[in-house]
Amino acid sequence: MPSSNPLPLTVAPPSHNSLARQGWRRLRRDRIGFGSLCIVALYLLLAMAAWSGLLARHWQDEVAKPFAPPTLFANLGPQHVELNAADIDAANQRRRAAAGSDSSAATGLDASEDPLAADMAAAQQQAAQYHSEEAPKADTLPLGADQRGRDIRQKVLQGTATSLLVGLSGALLALTIGTVLGALSGYFGGLLDDLLMWGYSVFTSVPDMLLLLAFAAVSGRGIGTVVVVMALTSWTGSYRLMRAEFLKHKSREYVRAADAIGASHGRRMFHHILPNVSHLLLVQFSMLTVALIKYEAILSFLGFGVGITQVSLGAMLAEAPAELLQGYWWQMLTVTVVMSVLVTAFSLLTDSLRDALDPKVK
């Protein structure tokens, strides 16, 4: 039998029929899964637009009256008269006038008593350059406004972007921690495994609530903290999963085969085994993302949310109890709908991914 082949090899692209490819094809065929993927992708696109400032950059602008209702349901609001600063000021002036005091002075100090008197007077003169025209405020907005008259449309866009960012990066971090530790633990076993298992059981035994409060206390507030807190309290699930998987795979024949051809431990762990558990990781990732998006809502409610220059779905939801009590239902409804669609799509996508990537199901 001739063993040499003088013809140049035409090697087909290696990925032409990989499992990922197959998974993708299966996913394409799964109508619900593909639909969910489109929705998730759309959300991601919007989020990306919001991160990059293409969309909803001015979400903090107060473009409408406080609690301006949604345009279509303007009559379904509680119809409270909203107060404003000018009226409050006027009322106070009147009250003081009635009390017989003079209200003309800027501070109630004589010029002689104020070290800044001259500067204050001069500043009044120079203030003109800083006066800005207030844009007229809208009475209604398509999705209504929040307490400060911010457009809920913009806010929810920005909020979705933040929540997605938090969810995705939190999941990524948790998964990374869980995977690395789980891989080490499951692959090497022995003392290292004992040690990591010990850490794991300690972590799972301490109530989440406490870890959460503790971590939040050290690391200040903001997106970074939320992500870290969430990752630190939710890596355990991935750890367990990955440990079991690596334990299972390390004695599989293909890993032994890799050993036989002289592959190092690291290569076996991350080059050989990791791709084989990657479908689980993907599923775990999307599950974690969903969980963390919901978790963020609870964190925000407990006061561990993002900072005030940021907004997340959870932060919006945290405003819901007070608003609902006053009859302002639109923010809560918007957030609930936006979040449900996202989470539902994500969960359905997870289901489909699970099926599509499972090598057993063909």
Binding site: W198, G199, S201, V202, F203, T204, S205, V206, P207, D208, M209, L210, L211, L213, A214, F215, A217, V218, G237, V290, K294, A297, I298, F301, L302, G314, L317, A318, A320, P321, L324, L325, M332, T336, M339, S340, V341, L342, V343, T344, S347, L348
Partner: protein
């Protein structure tokens, strides 16, 4: 079996030690200084120093840790720093409501979820199945917070079906009067994901060969489902149940807050808020112990369900 239990209990010691270490580090690092709370309006350095002395906070860290170890060994955590109540009696009064609330949520939720999941798994592929799955998926995508807020607002206030909040000392009154709404909400929050998960467990079991064997014997579908599939599917169910126990605390905390239920979740938050270390210590240690015991229990339950499990 007994040897197994003894061994597992022995293994708890290092874990418990780890929990203590973690807790101790956490508290001393981020726990906040309780003396500032106890000092009230009087923040003079002498007053603060005095309080720290009274609490034993001026001892060295190793000394404090030794005291902690002693407390854990005797399970006597002294008195709360903020309320001066014996910690034991605080926990005593908190544990009942917590157990009643989370226990009933767990029980009802699990039973409902298993029954519904088994049903839809049996009907898999049908319209009912797809509908239930879709509804569960949508339902689980709504934040638990929304359920609680909206449930209290509409069901209790607007519809007047339940009391707004409250708790009594009589179990019967709680069960019949105060518990139903928080229970309902708690179950609703947890039900949807459970149904989805359990359904997939059932469906997976139903693809196994032994189901085919059962059919070949001529068994009817309900018998196959209830006798053969259910027991096998219970294994992941038990795992998820045991795994969900610690998480329940967080969920229950919101319920406790909104329905004024004097449970553990609220106590933790309050204790952390007040840097009340004895209470934090006690609760954490008890929860850690409970978690470990539940894990042990889970293993024993596995053994009962699945004879293949080796208790080792």
């Amino acid at each position: 079996m007994l040897a197994f239990i003894i061994r597992r209990v022995a293994q708890m010691v290092p874990t418990l030690f780890g929990v203590m270490l973690l807790l101790f580090v956490l508290f001393n690092w981020v726990g906040g200084d309780p003396s500032y709370i106890l000092a009230g309006k009087n923040l003079s350095p002498e007053a603060l120093a005095n309080i720290r002395h009274q609490l034993g906070l001026d001892l060295s860290l190793p000394q404090q840790f030794v005291i902690f170890v002693k407390q854990v060994l005797t399970l006597d955590f002294g008195t709360s720093w903020s309320t001066q109540q014996p910690v034991t009696s605080i926990l005593h009064s908190r544990i009942g409501p917590s157990l009643l609330l989370t226990g009933s949520i767990l029980l009802l939720g699990t039973v409902l979820a298993v029954v519904i999941a088994a049903l839809v798994a049996y009907l898999r592929g049908s319209l009912t199945d797809r509908l239930v799955t879709l509804i569960s998926t949508c339902a689980m995508s709504v934040s638990g917070l929304v359920y609680i807020i909206a449930g209290q607002y509409w069901l209790a206030h607007k519809a007047g079906l339940f009391p707004i909040m409250g708790w009594s000392d009589r179990i019967a009154e709680n069960l019949l009067y105060y518990l139903p709404l928080p229970l309902l909400l708690g179950v609703v929050v947890g039900l949807a994901p459970d149904i989805r998960f359990y359904r997939s467990c059932f469906v997976e079991e139903m693809n196994h060969d032994y189901v085919r064997t059962a059919r070949a014997k001529g068994l009817s579908e309900p018998v196959i489902m209830l006798k053969h599939v259910l027991r096998n599917a219970m294994i992941p169910v038990v795992t998820s149940l045991m795994m969900s126990l610690p998480y329940l605390m967080m969920g229950a905390m919101l319920l406790e807050t909104f329905f004024s239920i004097p449970g553990m979740g609220k106590e933790v938050v309050m204790a952390v808020d007040r840097s009340d270390f004895p209470v934090i210590k006690a609760i954490t240690i008890y929860i850690a112990l409970a978690t470990m015991l539940f894990n042990l229990l889970a293993d024993i339950v596995y053994k009962l369900i699945d004879p293949r499990v080796e208790l080792s």
